[in-house]
Amino acid sequence: MNIRKLALSASLCTLALTSLAPTQASAAAKDQYFPVLVYRTGAYAANGAPWANGYIDYLKLVNARGGINGVKIIFEECETGYATDRGVECYERLKGKNGGATVFQPLSTGVTFALTEKAPVDKIPLITAGYGRSESQNGAVFTWNFPLLGTYWVGADVAIQYFAKKLGGVANLKGKKIALVYHDSPYGKEPIPVLEELGKKYGFDVQLLPVAHPGVEQKATWLQIRQHRPDYVLLWGWGVMNSTALREAQSTGYPRDKMMGIWWAGAEPDVKDVAEGAKGYSALALQHGAEPDAKVVKDILSMVYAKGQGTGSKEEVGQVLYMRGLLSSMLGVEGVRKAQERFGKGKVMTGEQVRWGLENLNLDQKTLDAMGFAGVMRPVQTSCLDHMGSSWVRIETWNGNKWEFSTPDWYQADEKFLRPMVMLASGKYAEEKKLKPRTPEECKL
Amino acid sequence: MNHQIGDVILDLKNVSLAFGGVKALTDISFDVREHEIRAIIGPNGAGKSSMLNVINGVYRPQQGEIILRGEHFARMNPYKAAKAGISRTFQNIALFKGMNVIDNMMTGRNLKIRSNLIQQAFWWGPARREELAHRAKVEEVIDFLEIQHIRKTPVGRLPYGLQKRVDLGRALAMEPSILLLDEPMAGMNVEEKQDMCRFILDINDQFGTTIVLIEHDMAVVMDISDRVVVLDYGKKIGDGNPDEVRASPEVISAYLGVSH
């Protein structure tokens, strides 16, 4: 290496290093900044991408509608590859940009766990709509986490309600066998305490069948299911694990109508390629399903896609995971809107103010209808102590061609049963971390 | 210093060695006396290197025993042999290519290191003192072999002749009582050979080290060794002082008939 090359590489290095330092924007930002953690590559790309597209399309729609009371949204993607350390790096990189991040939504239980420790320090709320830690519903302890619309414990409880209904009452659960086929990670393990508790309560047997990441090897799992012939199989997978499970169920002849998936196992990529083979398979729906006819979707098509500004492909708009992303995005935006009501309309909100907004969210039917969410979801109302805001879930079934809601479709989780578990688990967390839970008085501030 | 040739210190009895079906050594016995230079000769494939490998335990013979200073071994292992003061050089030079000359020779002092891992990690009292003391010893060997100028050179960069010398140096750093030399002069030019001969004789003379050597070059062997064993196709066909061996008809027909 001669001197010139050395100099060249040295200058390249400096260039690279300077590009590392995030450009700090001026303190008084004009725009509300939404960092977007996504994964469009790797093992879970097929599921991560539509979610991200929905998320961003909605932000674009808000801008097209004139912003949040006139405040425009800017956003930036960062690829996490569903890996915790990449997620943390993205978080650190984006959190201070453009006057500070509004809210983070990592779409990964692992990243959520890591950020739960960091968010309180940085004062940025985390929305984990339909994932994350179930006990973070308790806003007194998890002051910055918002598992809006539902947690895994809600899902597990509703799944059992559904089985009970099919059997003709909870009494008939006694002596039944329910197998949980789960992604072997914190995500997959979340429902286990609830299932075991319910098993004790109603006298059914829970069989746990873990599937290693990424979930393409399930032969042994389904041989075991064939051997034990459980009455129902609850599928708690993500990405390719879901379609693999359905294929294996098909090839071992396990009836698909006795299978029920969590809402992360109930989207198009999970069943599309199995098609007829997945007919009769049901999944929980985080309120919404595929919603091609919703007004908000039509708005996006006319106000975003028609102008050639769509993030993904047009066919994808309105699909299940797309809608999940869209809803998550909407909740964040509404948090900002609510915060503006208190801290000043037309101003850019800080993370702390947005937290107040999310804690006092009250989306009633009228508001939802006005925003174009009629029929997509039910009203949500949060409080300082309840960061979930709704425990309603629907059930959908794959008819070989598309997802359909089954009737009666709405279920509500048994809060009387879940709340003590939430309190216990969050209490344990508070004790470990030496946190003092907020009292209702402190919430008012 | 003058070391008289003494009693037998190494005695091999009826050693046989085979690899799979191939017999490398068949029923070989011979002895080595203290302070002598003992040569093993024979054509290619006669089993000379195998013989050395049996003595210091790299190969395990199927039959026979090795008696070292009155102690009987059915088989040696390299560690025991090293402990007992046997060191050796290699035909194809088995230096540690990733290290420099000093470090290669320092490995020869390995058995004499007393400090433990923790002390070494902290470069702490005993470890430090030991390193320096052994370094001094190694420098003596370096002086003896006249390789001061290359002491910090990675061995891979040295020419062949010098590598051979470092290989010898590493063996000497062990302060062995018995030194096994596997073709120490193979591939050298006349000058290098002369140097090597001088070193071998000096080692034997100054330190009284017993030397067992394998060599191709007949002239050299006959000049420097006290007694010679002749192998052919894994069998012993001659044993005695150079003159006796030269006179043996069997040896002449098998080996000396072919000039080298």
Binding site: E92, G96, S185, E432 | F90, A94, E131, L132
Partner: protein, 358 residues
């Protein structure tokens, strides 16, 4: 001009056996340490600490451990992530189960536990070598992945299998902000790098290298492969385990077994090979390269695309990142199979002779 060693004569072996026998090197290192300990904490912003410097320090420590095993002792390992996991979870258990145990002790005990496990999984190295051994170490990887997912005791019966720690302090020094975390890791790395350097220039290091270069010859001069290999496994696992504990405690604060997956093992192996096998410095270079490169690419590519008026999608960036990353690895292996450390020392030698070409 500045880098000249003439005039510096060694009069004792002690002087000749210093870690940095050349005076300028000693000054440079001192300077770097001053910058690392004083200037950086004053100047650098939080993002660099959290996203780059702290991971870099911890992974450097792990890479030194891997380098001891792979670079110095010649035993390929694809299971380094497993030993990080052992270190992290062991430290976690000591931390929560023994009331009042100082943080430092917990972390070091985590490292020691990892060393013990390392010895157990090092046993196959006595029978198999090379690629076969590499695969044997993968067995350790998958086994520990499973253990920490499946046995609730190790995660203190946490329902999700994820664990977290908080309120870390050492003798009253709160380790909660980026600067203190950085300094804490930096102290670890400095001390451990020194220990590693000492070991590798002492008898034990020579034993490892002898086993690596020519195991038969090593045995013949009285080195026991059993001791040499297992001690390398133990020391290496100790380093890697300590790094794992730091990764869990200091960097993530909350983690699950996936943080130490087989990808991490590959990453660590990349570091030592790119950085340079058998050099402590190389481990640091490798860690820096592997930590920084993806982040740089990730930010650099969209900017570069912007210059040419191309908008690169997030997916496009990460695909390009994969391609460039893989390509650079291959390029490095072809151009300099001995790693960045070799480039460094070649550069130094050139500088020493400058302006003469030879």
């Amino acid at each position: 001009m500045l880098y000249r060693e003439n005039g510096q004569f060694k009069t004792t072996y002690a002087a000749d056996q210093q870690i940095f026998p050349i005076a300028q090197d000693r000054w440079t290192i001192l300077g770097i340490l001053l910058i690392a300990f004083i200037a950086i904490p004053l100047l650098v912003d939080e993002y660099l600490f959290r996203a780059i410097l702290i991971p870099f320090l911890i992974l450097s420590l792990a890479a030194i451990g891997v380098n001891i095993l792979v670079g110095y002792c010649g035993q390929i390992t694809l299971g380094a992530g497993a030993f990080m996991a052992v270190g992290a979870y062991a430290a976690y258990n000591f931390h929560i189960r023994i009331e009042g145990l100082p943080l430092l002790v917990s972390i070091l005990l985590g490292g020691l536990t990892s060393a013990l496990v390392g010895i157990v999984f090092g046993i196959p190295s006595l029978r198999v070598r090379g690629l076969y051994l590499a695969v044997a170490t993968l067995a350790a990887q998958f086994f520990t992945d499973w253990v920490f997912l499946r046995i609730p005791w190790f995660t203190d019966n946490s329902s999700s299998g994820s664990v977290s720690v908080s309120n870390l302090q050492v003798m009253g020094w709160q380790i909660d902000n980026p600067v203190s975390k950085y300094l804490f890791c930096l102290i670890f790395l400095t001390i451990f790098a020194l220990l590693a350097k000492n070991m590798t220039r002492c008898a034990i290091g020579r034993q490892w290298m002898a086993i690596r270069d020519m195991d038969v010859a090593a045995e013949v001069i009285g080195i026991r492969p059993l001791f040499a290999k297992l001690s390398a496994f133990a020391v290496s696992s100790f380093f890697v385990g300590t790094a794992g504990a730091l990764w869990g405690f200091i960097h993530l604060a909350s983690w699950e077994p996936a943080a130490f997956s087989v990808d991490r093992s590959f990453q660590l192996l990349f570091m030592v090979i790119i950085g340079g096998l058998g050099t402590i410095m190389g481990s640091l270079f490798g860690a820096a390269f592997i930590v920084v490169l993806p982040i740089v690419l990730n930010q650099f590519l969209p900017a570069l695309g912007g210059v040419f008026g191309i908008k690169i999608s997030t997916a496009g960036v990460s695909h390009a990142e994969l391609i460039i990353f893989g390509g650079l690895i291959v390029f490095f292996l072809i151009k300099e199979p001995h790693g960045i450390a070799r480039l460094w020392s070649t550069g130094k030698e050139k500088l020493r002779l400058w302006p003469f070409p030879h």
